[in-house]
């Protein structure tokens, strides 16, 4: 299976030669979470959407918990997608844990990522001696409780998608119903990897110009995290959006899109 199939990559928008914008989703959803924003970029940019392995239409069989025990494996996947598309100097837009994955990818292969846009990012969710991540370990254990409580809801419509009968006429309907659903076992594992990760030390490895977009009132990421990132990412700029919630690209797509467009180089390649 190629990297493009494995990560369910879709390419749209302006043709080859145009500046490429790659969107990386976060925990709990898949590439469809960019649907309110991605179309705005399609006129001037080539738009690449992907599902992290374990999410959406990715190859669930490829989800080996040992390999995906750290976010570095997802970063390597993103770089493999860029390599398969022969892309260098892209704009990488990542949301939440997808932003951390973007940071890791840019640090690993700086030539492939010309600009980073981090939407509601955090290098670490847990509080730690002087660092305010916003969560205590007990809070995160509660998340697993919530995942378990919603186990049945999550699992209910999953089977047809996992088994994947391409010839079935009902498939489109199944896919709609399976929107943002995840195999409960994978969701649990990815949640653990996501919320226990600590990538503060990787920030110093990044040389890429970076825009940090923070939601003014984000239930998951305290304001102090934006400042921390701004201080530790060389050449980054912090923009606090007057939005509420962890998903400004969904609750305020227009504001988020404008902020990104202003940060990007002229789209004419």
């Amino acid at each position: 299976m190629t990297a493009l199939e494995r990560n369910n990559v879709t390419v749209s928008g302006a043709g080859p030669g145009a500046q490429t914008v790659v969107f990386v989703h976060g925990f709990g959803c898949d590439q469809q979470m960019w649907r309110l924003m991605a179309p705005a970029f399609e006129e001037h940019y080539q738009v690449v959407l992907l599902d992290l392995v374990g999410a959406g239409g990715s190859d669930l069989v490829a989800y080996d918990p040992t390999r995906y025990a750290t976010l570095d494996a997802h970063a390597a996947d993103v770089l493999a997608v860029l390599e398969a598309l022969e892309l260098r100097g892209v704009v990488l837009v990542g949301h939440s844990v997808g932003a951390t994955i973007g940071v890791l990818a840019a640090a690993q292969e700086p030539a492939r990522v010309a600009r980073l846009v981090l939407v509601a990012p955090t290098p670490r969710f847990l509080n730690d001696d002087g660092y305010i991540g916003g969560f205590e370990p007990a809070d995160l254990e509660e998340l697993f409780g919530a995942l378990d409580d919603n186990y049945l809801t999550w699992a209910a419509d999953l089977a047809p998608v996992v088994m994947g009968y391409p010839d079935r006429p009902a498939l489109a309907a199944e896919l709609t119903r399976s929107f943002c659903r995840t195999d409960p076992v994978i969701a649990r594992h990815f949640a653990r990897v996501t919320f226990w990760s600590d990538h503060r030390a990787d920030l110093a490895r990044v040389r890429t110009p970076t825009l940090i977009l923070q939601s003014a009132r984000d239930a998951l990421v305290p304001l102090a995290v934006g400042t921390y990132l701004n201080q530790h990412l060389r050449g980054s700029q912090l923009l606090v959006l007057n939005t509420l919630g962890h998903c400004p690209h969904l609750s305020a797509p227009q504001i988020t899109t404008t902020a990104i467009e202003q940060f990007l180089p002229s789209p004419v390649g």
Binding site: F27, Q32, L143, A146, C180
Partner: protein
């Protein structure tokens, strides 16, 4: 039967059923609230405020829906619920826990729809919350049971893998033993035959001064006979095993086979005045390899003659019967019997003997047992010392 639409409604005072919508909203048996698309609370009904213990003004425009949830639920809703709601326009049956003002928890089921204005811009989110305190306990019990079942399943799979490995090990050991028995019987036979010949020659030519020599020569001859018996026993085991490997199972008609075996034992049978009674009417055939069946009959019948009670004419009754889906072959004698209290555990072991006063090799019952096991069956034994023994061989359908 569907009621005819034209039929007049039953005589009811409909004024009684007319609800006040405002009161219905405020005191509905479920919690209602409305939020802006970003989650800011704008309206809550009295039921929900009562559950939470907050005053309206503490929440409206000040708190977001996610903030009413426990931290875990908030994480789940922000990462999964919100995307669903804003992109699909609705979420259904999300299971969360509300945090009351006093810190206590209330399990709820949350469903929500996104209302858009005329040009499709998200306007408001309508949320319904149901108290599921009892149901949550039940669900968590189910989840616990499920986790336990999965754990047990994993343990079973592991145990199964161990058994398979042990079974393979046993099969290898068994094959090694068979080949050892073959080698031993084969390699011992030649020198023992030589010894027998040399001893005969020795007896013929040598003279002994010692008066006890004759007795010792007799004992030596007896010991030689025992070794020869053991070797031929081993050879028989090997031979039967090899035959079984080469010959396929078939439906073996029992009457002619039993008659043939009885004929081969005729000299001993005649000497003892023995009587065989054969009755295979209930099950005339058995599915097994013919040489195996023959060896089984031969060993059981010859045992019945060999271990006859002194002074009593041997009577051997051989019969079949159906027991459920199994076929039972019974060989009943009136011989010496076996002390099962003492010997039951060792009955089918190779070279075990229970009547030292009678010559025998200790191979017969071992072979019979092995043949029955290989046919997928089992053996039951009943015996009374001095009265006789019944072997019941159960074969699967």
């Amino acid at each position: 039967m569907t009621p005819d639409a034209e039929e007049p409604l039953p005589e009811l005072d409909l004024r009684l059923t007319e609800e006040n919508p405002e009161d219905l909203y405020e005191h509905a048996p479920c919690g209602y609230c409305s939020c802006l698309p970003d989650g800011t609370l704008v309206k809550l009904n009295a039921t929900l405020l009562g559950w939470l213990g907050y005053a309206r003004e503490e929440l409206v425009a000040r708190q977001a829906l996610a903030q009413l949830l426990t931290v875990g639920g908030r994480l789940h809703f922000e990462t999964h619920g919100t995307p669903l709601l804003l992109l699909r326009g609705q979420v259904r049956e999300l299971s969360y826990t509300l945090r009351r003002k006093d810190g206590t928890a209330l399990p709820v089921l949350l469903s929500a729809v996104l209302v858009r204005d005329a040009d499709g811009t998200p306007l408001v989110v309508r949320v319904t919350l149901f108290d599921i305190t009892e149901r949550r306990k039940y669900e968590q019990e189910l989840l616990r049971t499920r986790a336990l079942a999965e754990e047990r399943g994993a343990q079973l799979a592991q145990a199964n893998a161990q058994l398979t490995a042990q079974n393979e090990q046993l099969l290898r050991t068994n094959a090694d033993l068979d080949s050892f028995v073959y080698t031993a019987s084969h390699d011992l036979k030649q020198p023992i035959d030589n010894m027998t010949g040399l001893f005969e020659e020795f007896k013929r030519t040598a003279t002994f001064a010692d008066p006890e020599a004759a007795g010792m020569v007799g004992m030596f001859a007896e010991a030689l006979q025992q070794i020869l018996g053991t070797i031929s026993g081993l050879a028989e085991v090997v031979q039967v095993q090899r035959q079984l490997e080469e010959v396929a199972a078939e439906a073996v008609p029992l009457q002619p086979l039993a008659e043939e075996v009885v004929r081969s034992l005729q000299p001993q049978a005649t000497d003892a005045g023995a009587e065989f009674e054969l009755d295979f009417a209930a099950a005339p055939a058995l599915r097994m390899a013919r040489p195996g069946a023959q060896s089984m009959f031969y060993n059981l019948f010859s045992n019945a003659l060999r271990y006859a009670q002194p002074g009593r004419r041997p009577r051997v009754r051989v019969s079949t019967a159906r027991a459920g889906t199994s076929t039972v072959l019974t060989v009943q004698d009136n011989g010496r019997g076996i002390d099962l209290e003492r010997h039951r555990r060792h009955l089918f072991q190779l070279f075990r003997r229970f009547h030292p006063e009678v010559a025998g090799s200790g191979v017969g019952l071992y072979l019979v047992h092995r043949l029955v096991l290989q046919a997928g069956g089992r053996i039951e034994v009943e015996s009374a010392v001095g009265q006789g023994t019944a072997f019941r061989l159960y074969f699967p359908a």
